[in-house]
């Protein structure tokens, strides 16, 4: 149809990608309905307490301790999951061994399993009378279950597939050629790993770390079984939110939620900035 000169070129810019208006509209609507509006509610709810009340609610030592524990344990778990996930991805991509397909599938299990089941299993295993907990206690005097260490183990369990699965496609894409080229140029295996493979994987590792951390910091089901949930020692922030909800302290629960939201956003933003810096190096 001829539109005539009435339409300015800006009003109807031609693009090969169809349905921009429709797609963008629907996306925005759903994003608002599912993510932005609930988050806005979370932002507004705590202020029912007033600024002073909000501050008092968060300054409680028990709240501060739970936030410290949640974020500390999640960061530690993600940091441990990054090298372990890299190793797993490496084994699945580069090595040929019997049962590789089974291992490949097993990596995804933590995605599928209800986390409470994982928590129960880990608790039974690591409890002072468990298969692994008993010898650990007898030989080293370590107690894992019902301590912060147990929380890290549970979070590692849920974070691991994220790092493994984000690194895997990049590793596959990297191919052997770059490593072979490094070898023909005289690099030892360690030099190849340190200077060719790891830098190429760094952005993916960082993404995996970020996803693993995000998953771990919000984890509830598996942790409450293994943590012991002692206030000030092994009580995670999501549990404290539940406790406040059970006491009908909705604003107080939202206050902790708001603190978690801001802290998590801060960490993810930092990770994203770091990644952009890394990518600029790659561009």
């Amino acid at each position: 149809m001829s539109a005539g000169p009435a339409l300015s070129p800006r009003a109807r810019r031609q693009t090969a990608i169809p349905g921009f208006g429709l797609a963008f509209g629907i996306t925005l609507f759903w994003l608002s309905a599912i993510v932005l509006v609930p988050l806005l509610a979370l932002l507004l709810r705590p202020f029912e307490l007033g600024l002073d009340g909000l501050w008092a609610s968060l300054a409680e030592p028990r709240v501060a301790a739970s936030l410290r524990l949640s974020f500390g344990a999640a960061l530690l778990a993600a940091a441990l999951a990054a090298p372990l996930g890299l190793l797993l991805a490496w084994a699945v991509v580069r090595l040929r061994f019997p049962g590789r397909a089974v291992l490949d599938a097993a990596i995804d299990l933590p995605f599928a399993l209800p986390t409470a089941v994982a928590g129960l299993a880990l608790t039974a295993l690591l409890a002072p009378n468990g298969w692994l907990g008993a010898p650990l206690a007898a030989w080293f005097g370590w107690q894992v279950a019902f301590t912060p260490a147990g929380i890290v183990v549970a979070l590692l369990f849920v974070a691991l597939p994220f790092t493994a699965r984000t690194v895997e496609p990049v590793l596959r894409d990297l191919g052997r050629e770059a490593e072979e080229a490094a070898a023909t140029l005289g690099a030892s295996r360690l030099q190849t790993l340190r200077r060719v493979v790891l830098p190429a994987l760094a952005p993916a590792l960082l993404t995996g770390f970020g996803l693993g951390f995000a998953r771990a910091v919000g984890e509830y089901g598996s942790v409450i079984f293994i943590a012991g949930n002692m206030p000030m020692v092994s009580e995670i922030a999501p549990l404290l939110i539940t406790i406040r909800l059970e006491q009908f302290d909705y604003a107080g629960a939202a206050a902790i939620g708001l603190a978690m939201l801001l802290l998590a956003f801060g960490v993810l933003l930092l990770l994203n900035l770091a990644q952009r810096a890394l990518r600029r190096g790659l561009a």
């Binding site: 080229a181 070898a183 005289g186």
Partner: protein, 381 residues
């Protein structure tokens, strides 16, 4: 650095990628490994580079046995098919990589490394790309970076795996000339893997034609074109068409009225003839059921168009039109066969020419042996 390969075998499962390869390359020589995909040429290159183990046979480079020597200790420059540049490193760091991973005692210092890298950038004519990243380069530029990176370790042997595959035709020809010039200047023994015969013939001093894990022939380009050792070589190089015929009483007949018989001294029995486009002249003829017919005309050199001629029985042959005698699509035509490579039933090869009867019939017949690219005398019918 000379390269000696003897009885090399490398299998992948049940298939032998290399099935007893023997090859001897002289110091400073530019050799090409030419063959269709799956003929084992890249595997041979990878075994030489130390990226693939040899199962049997021996490889000696500059007199040193290479079995068990890892790639990083061979000091061989390799340019990979997709260049395999390090994407997270600048062009400068890519080229400097080979210097920076040397053991501490031999590693050049920062200033010396920079000087060497700049020299290589000049040599490969890309000094302006020093600070760029591989993702920002064109195919031709990446290839030069890969070459500079391989040359940085001062290799005595350079291996190039299909280095022109990712370039467009125009750049390819230019880079080819430049690479040959670079080889003349540096004198590094070079082995090129390619499936493009034009590339192999233009670049290499000698070409090894590979067929299913073996070297079918290793010879100068002209020798490979003029006296192919096996039917495979004859069919693979020189755009030759393969025609089956029968020899009887010293005459090879094709069972095609449009194709004249050839005089041969081969035993009676089936024979294989390989006919190149410039050994076949097409000229207009009267309409007849058993004549050829021009399917397609495209301009060639010396005002002599190349044509594709359909013969009865579904055979299509590439031929040259007679200079000055225009042919049109769909026109009936007659073919004059100047010469052909014929392999007899006993495997012997002969460069065959038309039988005397044919020569007598063509009072304008061209002298024997006049065939060859660009060697056809220009004459108007």
């Amino acid at each position: 650095m000379s390269v000696i390969v003897e009885g090399l075998v490398r299998r992948f499962g049940a298939t032998a990628a290399l099935d007893g390869v023997s090859l001897s390359i002289r110091e400073g020589e530019f050799a090409a490994l030419l063959g269709p995909s799956g003929s084992g040429k890249t595997t041979l290159l990878r075994v030489l580079a130390g990226l693939e183990p040899q199962e049997a046979g021996r490889v000696a480079i500059a007199g040193r046995e290479m079995a068990g020597v890892p790639a990083r200790e061979r000091g061989i420059g390799v340019v990979f098919q997709n260049y395999a540049l390090f994407r997270h490193m600048s062009v400068f760091d890519n080229i400097a990589f080979g210097l920076s991973v040397q053991p501490r005692g031999r590693r050049p210092d920062r200033a010396e490394t920079a000087a060497r890298v700049r020299e290589l950038l000049r040599l490969t004519q890309i000094p302006e790309l020093e600070r760029r990243w591989p993702d920002q380069l064109s195919g031709g530029q990446r290839q030069r970076v890969a070459l500079a990176r391989a040359l940085a370790i001062q290799p005595k042997l350079l291996l190039l795996d299909e280095p022109f595959g990712a370039l467009d035709a125009l750049v390819r020809r230019e880079v080819r000339r430049w690479l040959r010039g670079l080889h003349e200047r540096l004198g590094i023994t070079t082995i090129l893997v390619t499936h493009d015969q034009e590339e192999a013939m233009e670049l290499a001093d000698r070409v090894a034609v590979m067929d299913r894990g073996r070297i079918a022939q290793f010879d100068a380009p002209a020798a490979i074109l003029d006296s192919p050792a096996t039917p495979f070589v004859a069919g693979f190089v020189g755009e030759a068409a393969r025609l089956e015929g029968a020899v009887g009483g010293g005459v090879l007949r094709f069972g095609q009225a449009a194709l004249p018989p050839l005089a041969v001294s081969l035993p009676d029995g089936p024979a294989l003839a390989f006919i190149r486009p410039w050994d076949l002249l097409a000229e207009p003829a009267a309409e007849a059921a058993d004549q050829g017919r021009v399917r397609q005309v495209r301009p060639g050199s010396q005002a002599q168009p190349r044509v594709i001629v359909d013969l009865p029985g579904g055979v299509a042959l590439d031929a040259m039109a007679r200079p000055g005698v225009p042919l049109e699509r769909g026109q009936p035509c007659r073919l004059r066969l100047l010469s052909a490579q014929v392999f007899g039933a006993d495997g012997r090869r002969e460069n065959a020419f038309p039988s005397d009867a044919q020569a007598e019939r063509d009072e304008t017949g061209l002298p024997r042996g006049a065939a060859g690219p660009g060697r056809l005398p220009l004459r108007s019918g």
